[in-house]
Amino acid sequence: MTKASVLPDANGHFGPYGGRFVSETLFAALDELSDTYDLLWQDPAFQAEFDLDMAHYVGRPSPLYHAKRLTKTYGGAQIYLKREDLNHTGAHKINNTIGQALLAKHMGKPRIIAETGAGQHGVASATVAARLGLECVVYMGVEDIRRQAQNVYRMKLLGATVVGVTSGTQTLKDALNEAMRDWVTNVDNTYYIIGSAAGPHPYPKIVRDFQSIMGREARRQTLERTGRLPDAVIACVGGGSNAIGMFHPFLEDKDVRLIGVEAGGSGLESGRHAAPLSAGTPGILHGNRTYLMSDENGQILPTHSVSAGLDYPGVGPEHSYLKDTGRAEYVIATDTEALDSFRELCLLEGIIPALESSHAVAYACKLASQMRPDQTIVVNLSGRGDKDMQTVADIDGIKV
């Protein structure tokens, strides 16, 4: 059997998932990207350029922090947090945007576009565009613009144009549609930085490879700190970039449980959630085959999550593959559970996590309480919660 860690195949397939389901106009651009990437990723000079930026612009390696008071509260496994929230721009998204912006530069594209949900990927894209002197246009659903006003302002300060998307559900999936439309139209001079490990081949592979720096570090750091590999690695899953980046370097470590936490929203039974792996079926959206939330006629369903970054009806195709093969497990945390963990981490550890990451923390705490104190859980704290102040204050009925 093929080792899971060497996928995708040459056509971008992870088993039945992934692939390249896009309109013909984009094929030449995707082939060009694929060829460029395959060359550069093997090129030591490109790797050195990427590593240098990771060290001195992003601030890597990010710490692996032993959350002792959180651990004590749940009385079980030791909980470690991979502190992606400490990265420049405040989330893991920057790892990928730096890598892809370097690709854009090597391909001679003067203009980059991006889609964003919570705004973290948009900010990270605007950041690298500013640094490299590239024009940057970010597509964002107007519903998300409302929820994440601060990030919108950050993008504007960084010189990006933020385009509000009013079609469909006005969230991340619609922003992705609109970015694709822009790309089809301006494909000659434009590089599309996809922020999730989703989209058509080769994006799921590229995003995973750039994000895998998190998992490689976490694996090494856990060995250094505890003398052994973790018993479980936990990350939240929207499109799935922070999860796949954490999981991938552990794929062949069969004793390490890999657990993705989807947005349970108001609960699976309510239908108001964003959990395609837990409650969806395979289908085709945004250029790949993967688990989706769609109705009996194949129409994509509206999603709900308190966190804009998880509010997406699909998921990266590699997660679909890992689910079917059983190598990774996928569970949910509800809005309420995520908010409780958000507050708990603030009070116990002095860390304000992103609402997205709070889903992973919520499940980690639940699991830790069923494990032994000599066991270890590593949680990807994929982003910081500054951007969520408005959302949480609104829920608390407080005017900030």
Binding site: N11, G19, R20, F21, V22, S23, E24, T25, L26, F27, A28, A29, S167, G168, K173, D174, N177, M180, R181, V184, T185, N186, V187, D188, T281, P282, G283, I284, L285, H286, G287, R289, L292, S294, E296, N297, G298, Q299, I300
Partner: protein, 269 residues
């Protein structure tokens, strides 16, 4: 012989080109569609492309996205659309009908069920904009076995190598997308299109239809001089959208536009 081949053969014998209107099925409501199909045929439509509405039409501009939303507000499903084709066939057994849309609707119905039903209702062709030849080997085979044409897009960015591959996989006609962009975008550059069509012709005997950017009688006539078929969509869908509360008026506008195009195409030769 398939209806599509017969249609192009007959037109060729007359020295004429196919007029191929696109409308989204169920827009502005499902009761309108079959009647509109007959009306379009009566003013000279040769082949009808019927859109399958999808919630996330990535390759379409705002005009067709809104048409999808109107159709979906009435819960227009692929199963309903296949029934519409059956109903159309009760009175018309010659005009080819091609379904155009996105793969997920077909995948959800199930490929076997779709192909069997499509054959039963005498559908002629299928064009799924997000299903390239690479991903459609099995489905393409099933379609061929059922006597249905698999129609693919070729665009300004398609390399010669891919043109070969696409021509080998396609049947019925090839659909050339005249510009880089979504449906309903810029106006057409006929010279640039003619150049690329010459290249495509080196790799296929199939008729060539051209779409995107054709919005009036003049552009339709110009395209008719370089292609075998003229596909017109957004301008018609726009007329339906502008008159969504008065579908009769919208249909009359569609009929008027098409008859002007027909006339211009036939007199330009």
């Amino acid at each position: 012989m398939s209806r599509i081949a017969a249609c192009f053969d007959a037109l060729k014998a007359q020295g004429r080109q196919a007029l191929i209107p696109y409308v989204t099925a169920g827009d502005p409501n499902p009761q309108v569609t079959v009647g509109l199909m007959h009306q379009m045929v009566s003013v000279g439509a040769d082949i009808i492309e019927l859109g399958i509405p999808f919630s996330d039409p990535m390759a379409d501009g705002p005009v067709i996205q809104l048409a999808c939303e109107r159709a979906l507000a009435h819960k227009t499903s692929l199963a309903m659309i296949l029934s519409m084709v059956a109903e159309f066939r009760e009175q018309n057994d010659t005009t080819p009908v091609v379904l155009m849309g996105y793969l997920n609707t077909v995948e959800k119905m199930g490929y076997d069920v779709f192909v069997a039903t499509a054959k039963k209702v005498s559908l002629d062709g299928v064009l799924l904009v997000d299903l390239p030849p690479e991903e459609s080997e099995d489905f393409g085979k099933d379609l061929r076995q059922a006597g249905l044409d698999a129609i693919f897009l070729i665009t300004p960015t398609t390399t010669e190598e891919r043109i070969k591959k696409i021509c080998a996989a396609g049947s019925g006609y090839m659909y050339y997308v005249s510009l880089k962009g979504v449906t309903g975008a810029a106006a057409i550059d006929t010279d640039a299109v003619a150049e690329k069509l010459d290249l495509v012709k080196q790799h296929t005997q199939l008729p060539l239809g051209v779409g995107f950017g054709i919005r009036d009688a003049d552009s339709a006539a110009r395209v008719a001089q370089i292609a075998d078929g003229v596909v017109v969509g957004s301008v018609l869908v726009n007329a339906l959208g502008d008159n969504a509360s008065d579908p009769e008026k919208g249909c009359a506008q569609v009929v008027l536009t098409l008859s002007e195009m027909r006339q211009a195409m036939d007199t330009a030769v």
